[in-house]
Symmetry: C2
Subunit: 497 residues, 2 copies
């Protein structure tokens, strides 16, 4: 590998203003303005990034350089008299190599960009081995999942990463601007929120990674009855990865009024589908002194806000998705973001009405429909895609019982392509009702002592919802498989990277 | 429990503007403006919150109500002719109860607030059982750790939650404003970043929570050799909780240029100290085309930014910490936030110089000092508190080797009270050097294949750091024990709530 030094030893310099510690320009800084870089024509600029393509013509060489700050490359035009041109001839400058290019910004002759870089000097920073798996030719998304460490260098996954980032930041902005406090709910927990979910066990009874592969079962500490001796485990009892931060968020909502979590949650379900992950990020707001109407209003306003943010801030990436991933995704999101049609856009449907709709449907379902059944994906899809949107789900213990004694104050928000995006409910704030529900479901009141305490001391009506962040990414980008909506997906048999 | 209905069934109403979906005013909205509420004098307002204290005098009753939106309570003044006054007499209105109060905002006679609420009507929403453990009398922070579900209702923990939230949001703002992309690094991983860290095992070989306590050891699947049969586990091999997202962040930095993680990380160390948690949040920025100087400049600018943000946005909470938790904390942070003294403020010290300083110290250390030793807490404390700030640490495999062949391009940022707040390094971007290091440390090159690929295809100089978020909370608030800096701390023997 050729040792190359940067022309300047120090790439960045400490700025004088907090928040501007680096003076380095990125391609998005150069080309991202309203005139797409024309204001900088004539300036000498430096670009650092990775070579996407190289076209050598008789008199001139075109290099497309990308630094990940935007979908757009910087087109670099080089004559044979440019300093470092020998690296083109020797093959060092090739797809995948990282380079440092200095040149003059000029108006471009091409139709694809307003400006391009007339190269004065180029330095290969790191060459690319010819085995580089992501060449210009199109590669499948299945193949790229096996190269999760390199796939962000493609247009699709670069754009997904930027839109995912924008959705995350918009999430924080929305809640912060509305007075919610971000809470980190615990990841490791000895309690089981849903009272049923399939959970991963977290333990130190099995030795750390290097020895784990060769661990004998009988080295696991056991009691004289042959049971696992949990007293010797790290937490002194069985512990698990959380399936939801909701119960913990409730403790803070009943102190700080409005809070939200945004963190990873886990399901050990053996579902190898395009809609499930074993590890995914959830957003769970919890509102005190609030009922189901407030909850739905919050979910609606939230979704409009983040969609609007992405449309305003990720124009180039969204046009890419609109062209290559899902035709019409921008129109679909635009309808969602129009706040003046908000009330029309979000049709609310009771559970009973949803069942009625499904019973009247001409369609034959795999799972038969009757009142009381849990809605399956096929039912949800029918309602959102062939009928319309909004309906509740089957009762978890914490959902507030309605006066009819049969239904609970819950809602689901179903959206096209994804199905259930948001599930929420008003929580049972009445101590006696909640205790009865725990008894009915044979859940231990002792293990929920702290959750019950919230109803014992200054209980308030409160409500919240959970939103699977990767499904939001799918919804906003049109990406079909949820494993392409998170950098390093975890699923049965798959914890690589 | 008395059944009370809200005077209005719907607490909130859908607003017309995205981002203003609720019209409910919180105490911070009423009292948080520059004139501390005087602009609203004469208005009828509703407050919903929890009773902190109740003083019944002969002619008038004072209620201090807090809704968690600020440290300040709303002082509510009630005569016996107010609607609902009977609830004072019957004892329903008591410390810990939740109430709905309507009244007229008037200028306050008291010196502690500019405005107070002249009560017209009060409704108890949820009474408080007399066993409420958080009464007015001061309770210890040790006791409150056993009541982690109720402690956010205290002044101290409400303030910690709000400052923690402000630090988190400032973190996102800083990186977003500087063009960094937030990356979610995986929580469950089959690789071990540090090559050594003590990790938690994640498994489904032990059944889910309800049955775990009674699981026999011999129900764990084993091979014919008596080893744990990992092929039957969820991921088909041993999997662990991450100790750092750095390696994963590097994959995205070498595609998108500048990225950061902000997520939970785990250490299964049996350390029952005031400085360690088994589960903590980390911020790990990674900068491409950057060296150690850029890294230090980024860490410096970041810390100044978030400290300034908290001083500007959490004035009341910071005054509380300054008075009750650490006298002088505001001055200490102000020095840190002055960007015009930035270069003077952060003294940089090489490892060799740090050792020199310690060798010259008059102090006797428990762990003897010599060149090559890892710095212990007592050494770090000496340097920051008795000498000054900044120094590097002992070599992890990914740290870039300096030309002296002895040291690596690493840095630690040490701060008073906390010790090591930030640890960072320039990463080894040279394939041959990195492979040699893996060999030296007897780490398997095969399991790092994807990490090595980053050096094979367009490698670039890059650098980053890790910051333990709870230590930042300690640094900013003066809170002594790290278990009080996170809502639900996890430590050996402790995974409650």
């Amino acid at each position: 590998m050729k040792k190359t030094e940067f022309p300047e030893k120090k790439v960045g310099e400490m700025g004088n203003t907090v928040g501007e510690f680096r003076k380095k320009l990125k391609i998005a800084d150069i080309k991202g303005g309203p005139d797409e870089g024309l204001n900088r024509v004539g300036q000498t600029v430096v670009v650092m990034g990775w070579v996407r393509t190289l076209r050598v013509q008789s008199s001139v060489t075109f290099l497309e350089v990308n630094d990940g700050s935007s979908l757009s490359n910087m087109q670099c035009v080089m004559n044979s008299d440019a300093e470092g041109y020998d690296q083109v001839e020797s093959g060092l400058i090739a797809t995948g190599a990282s380079i440092w290019v200095q040149g003059t910004l000029v108006a471009s002759q091409g139709s694809k960009q307003k400006v391009e870089l007339k190269v004065e000097k180029v330095v290969v920073v790191g060459k690319s081995d010819p085995s580089y798996p992501i060449q210009k030719k199109r590669v499948s998304r299945e193949f790229l999942r096996t190269k999760a460490h390199l796939r962000p260098r493609t247009n699709t996954f670069g754009a997904v990463a930027r839109v995912r980032n924008a959705l995350a930041y918009a999430t924080h902005k929305f809640f912060q601007e509305n007075g919610f406090v971000w809470i980190s709910s615990p990841i490791i927990t000895a309690s089981d929120c849903e009272g049923a979910g399939e959970q991963f066990c977290v333990t130190t009874l099995i030795p750390s990674s290097r020895e784990a592969a060769d661990s004998p079962v009988d080295a696991i500490p056991n009691t004289k009855n042959g049971l696992i001796d949990w007293s010797q485990d790290f937490f002194g009892k069985p512990a698990f990865l959380t399936v939801s931060g909701q119960l913990n968020a409730e403790t803070y909502a009943t102190a700080l009024s409005d809070v939200y979590t945004f963190g990873p949650t886990f399901r050990a379900e053996n579902s190898n589908t395009s809609r499930h992950l074993a590890e995914f990020w959830m957003i769970e707001p919890e509102l005190a002194f609030a009922d189901l109407d407030d909850d739905m209003a919050c979910a609606t306003a939230y979704l409009q806000y983040v969609v609007r943010h992405v449309l305003d801030n990720c124009k180039e990436d969204m046009e890419f998705f609109n062209t290559w991933i899902e035709k019409g995704v921008i129109d679909r999101l635009n309808v969602r973001a129009q706040f003046d049609v908000a009330e029309k856009d979000f049709v609310q449907l009771t559970y009973t009405d949803a069942i009625g709709l499904l019973l009247k449907a001409k369609k034959k379902f795999e799972f038969p429909v009757k009142w009381g059944c849990d809605l399956q994906s096929e039912h949800e899809r029918y309602i959102t895609e062939e009928a319309f949107k909004g309906c509740p789900e089957i009762k978890a213990f914490y959902m507030r019982q309605n006066d009819d004694g049969k239904t609970v104050a819950a809602m689901d928000m179903l959206v096209p392509r994804v199905g259930e995006l948001i599930g929420g409910s008003q929580r049972e704030e009445r101590l006696d009702y909640l205790e009865n529900r725990l008894d009915e479901l044979k859940l231990s009141k002792e293990s929920y002592w702290w959750y019950l305490d919230l109803r014992r001391y200054g209980s308030v009506p409160h409500a919240g919802f959970g939103l699977g962040f990767e499904r939001l990414v799918q919804f906003a980008t049109g990406i079909e498989n949820i494993r392409d909506a998170i950098p390093f997906p975890r699923a049965p048999g798959s914890a690589e990277f």
